[in-house]
């Protein structure tokens, strides 16, 4: 080896010589681009920023969050109220999750405008996949705080899953991990939200950067990296990233992400609303009869994402015509989503009853936010008086447990026992009622409301309303008895 080679070797550095760092960096940077550097090409930078924010803040939230029925809400409230920076980080995560789909759609719009969907079909497909994954993560993450907002959106999502013909009950059971939305649902959504979907997201991003590289035009003889272009574009991207981050931070600092009281203490008649990225779907389902709502909820987003994915296949006689067609397909999908979202917000603002209700709910959230943090208290395992004392108490407990439940009211036996059993133990597919009052929103008043209108509580439609078949006294008697089970 000559001296010159030696010198070159030492200059290139220890790490570079031993690893593939240089190859990776070259691979990352050598993607040729067509056209000039432009501000309209900065959306990819915003997507990268938001993905990084989601990953970073998500990991931080996972340091405290505990996905269980009893502790999820307490841990989120602890972060919000007791930890410095907690509210800020959670707000970044919350608003980031809603901005991310928007940023990806804008990036896709830019690509479509430049005709890049046709020239870089693999890159386009990867971005559509990214959009789907980001939406999936938004949907699963919304459940995790386990306040009323989270609980009911989970309830609604599970009922949508349960509404499919034939496979509905199975889909629902697999999604929620049992017959009802419970602590098992929370751990399922948690695993999906923090492991499964992010892993797929990271794989997609890495694959896009290092594997699915494609040049729009065949590479010229020398694949020389156009440094001037990259610098100019990097500068524009950085400026936009800085502005977006500053705006997002200020907004997150001024409007903390919503968090209400725990799901158990949600008032009757809580009006759930999904995250901003799903408002359009929520509005669409309002127009649909209940029988097809589930199909719509699956197929409309499916068709929109599918149309996006298939857009590169669109062909036409001339380049100009093709571009026009592609743009109009893209625009009509976007208009549908934007229009429905707008209508939803307008409807909520116009209807005085809904407006009142939503305002009351956000007042309640605000009140909860301003109240001091109350830690989750484990019940005392107080074996204070090891011998005599505890014996006395456990004897007492036993007598308490052994007292036979009072007999079911006649109205229950006449109307409810057919499905739920004479002692409320349930039969085959009909759920047991024992211990139901320990679940959230199953107080006596709630049970009466369920008897009147089961679907308003998100129950399966198999249970009919008993509003006119029972007197008010009978309903109350049944509810009190069921609550005692």
């Amino acid at each position: 080896m000559s001296d010159a080679d030696d010198k070159d070797e030492t200059r290139r550095g220890w790490l570079v010589r031993r690893t593939a760092v240089e190859a990776v960096l070259t691979n990352l940077l050598d993607e040729p681009a067509t056209g000039a550097a432009a501000w309209t090409r900065t959306f990819a930078g915003i997507v990268a920023l938001l993905l990084a924010i989601q990953l970073f803040t998500g990991v931080l939230l996972a340091f405290y969050y505990v996905p269980s029925d009893g502790s999820a809400h307490a841990t989120v409230a602890y972060m919000e109220k007791a930890l410095a920076g907690g509210s800020f980080l959670r707000s970044l995560h919350f608003y980031g999750s809603q901005l991310l789909p928007l940023a990806i759609v804008l990036h896709l719009a830019g690509m479509c405008w430049r005709g890049a969907d046709r020239r870089k079909p693999v890159g386009w497909l990867v971005n559509v996949l990214l959009l789907s994954l980001v939406l999936a993560n938004g949907a699963t993450g919304y459940s995790l705080p386990w306040d009323a907002r989270a609980f009911f959106s989970t309830q609604v999502a599970s009922n949508i899953a349960g509404g499919f013909p034939l496979i509905g009950p199975y889909t629902r059971a697999w999604l929620v991990g049992g017959a009802d939305v419970s602590t098992l649902t929370l751990s399922r959504f948690y695993a999906l939200h923090v492991i499964v979907v992010p892993a797929a997201l990271l794989l997609t991003v890495v694959a896009r950067l290092f594997v699915f590289k494609e040049s729009s035009a065949p590479l010229t003889a020398s694949p020389m990296f156009d440094c001037a272009w990259a610098r100019a574009q990097l500068t524009r991207n950085s400026v936009v990233i800085g502005i977006v981050f500053a705006a997002l931070s200020v907004y997150a600092g001024m409007h903390p992400a919503p968090l209400g009281p725990a799901a158990e203490s949600a008032p009757a008649g809580y009006l759930p609303r999904p995250g901003a990225q799903f408002i359009w779907l929520f509005q669409l389902l309002k127009y649909a009869p209940a029988s097809v709502a589930s199909m719509l909820a699956l197929f409309v987003p499916g068709i929109l994402l599918g149309a996006l994915a298939l857009l590169p296949l669109l062909n036409a006689r001339s380049k100009k015509l093709r571009r026009g067609l592609a743009l109009s397909v893209f625009a009509s999908g976007t208009l549908l989503v934007a229009g429905l979202s707008l209508i939803s917000y307008l409807e909520d603002a116009r209807d005085p009853r809904i407006r009142e209700r939503l305002a009351a709910q956000s007042r309640q959230e605000e009140e909860f936010r301003n109240s001091p943090f109350v830690p989750l208290r484990a019940t005392t395992d107080s074996r204070l008086f090891d011998d005599a004392g505890s014996k006395g108490r456990s004897a007492q407990d036993q007598t308490g447990a052994l007292t036979t439940p009072s007999a079911a009211p006649a109205a229950f036996l006449n109307h409810c026992a057919k499905c739920h059993g004479e002692n409320g133990a349930g039969k085959s597919i009909y759920p047991p009622l024992t211990g139901v009052s320990r679940q959230p929103r199953r107080a006596v008043e709630d049970i009466i409301a369920i008897i009147n209108n089961p679907s308003s509580y998100g129950l399966e439609q198999r249970m009919p309303s008993f509003a006119n078949k029972l007197t008010e006294e009978e309903k109350r008697a049944i509810a009190i008895w069921v609550a005692s089970l």
Partner: protein, 207 residues
């Protein structure tokens, strides 16, 4: 329109071929002054991304630092200095035998309050002296050996006399005496706090 733009880009590329050479690049066919001006421009262009990256990272890192800072762990005794816990009625503390009791001690850590059972020994012959069972050496629970009238630590065989004073090591001191009092015929203690951890106080705040 698109084609025209590409043509301009191509023309620019042919007029000024750019050669990428580590951190420097030389613009061929240009005069010296142009090179100097471009160098300055490049430097500015480098600082904008660097500044954005640094400020975004700094903001997030600062929030992360405040968020992850260890919190103080508190026991009941520190939460309420006057927190007395009942141990046993005096009627059970008669005779000469040492009495062992487990006392639930409140542990507040972050979002949860739990109870940890801690062992104490009560010595009726010595005016109901209460000793913590925690060996001052490595923190194992000592045992009372009735036959020898001594406390012995199962971990490293430290031995303590019936009043808690150290007999033989490796422990360096006797068993901790726990403040006790009698109220209405019931012995109460001020629960011991686990090894005090000096940490930052619980803060309340946003942002």
């Amino acid at each position: 329109m698109c084609c025209a733009r590409r043509e301009i880009a191509n023309r620019r590329a042919s007029v000024a071929p750019v050669i990428f050479l580590e951190r420097e690049f030389i613009l061929a066919d240009r005069e010296n002054s142009v090179e100097v001006r471009d160098k300055l421009r490049r430097r500015i262009l480098f600082w904008i991304p660097a500044a954005v990256f640094a400020s975004v990272s700094a903001t997030l890192a600062a929030a992360a630092f405040r968020f992850l800072r260890p919190r103080e762990q508190t026991g009941a005794a520190r939460d309420q200095p006057s927190g007395w816990t009942q141990v046993a009625p005096l009627t059970e503390l008669q005779g000469t035998r040492v009495v062992g009791r487990t006392v639930p001690i409140e542990q507040r850590a972050g979002w949860s309050v739990t109870f940890k059972n801690r062992m104490v020994f009560i010595l009726p012959p010595q005016n109901n002296l209460v000793l913590s069972a925690v060996c001052p050496h490595e923190g194992c629970d000592v045992e009372w050996l009735d036959s020898r009238g001594e406390f012995i630590c199962p971990c490293h065989d430290s031995r303590f006399a019936a009043d808690g004073t150290l007999l033989t090591g490796p422990a360096k001191s006797g068993l901790t005496k726990i403040p006790a009092r009698v109220v209405e015929g019931v012995l109460e203690i001020q629960p011991p706090v686990d090894a005090p951890i000096a940490m930052l106080p619980e803060t309340r705040g946003r942002g």
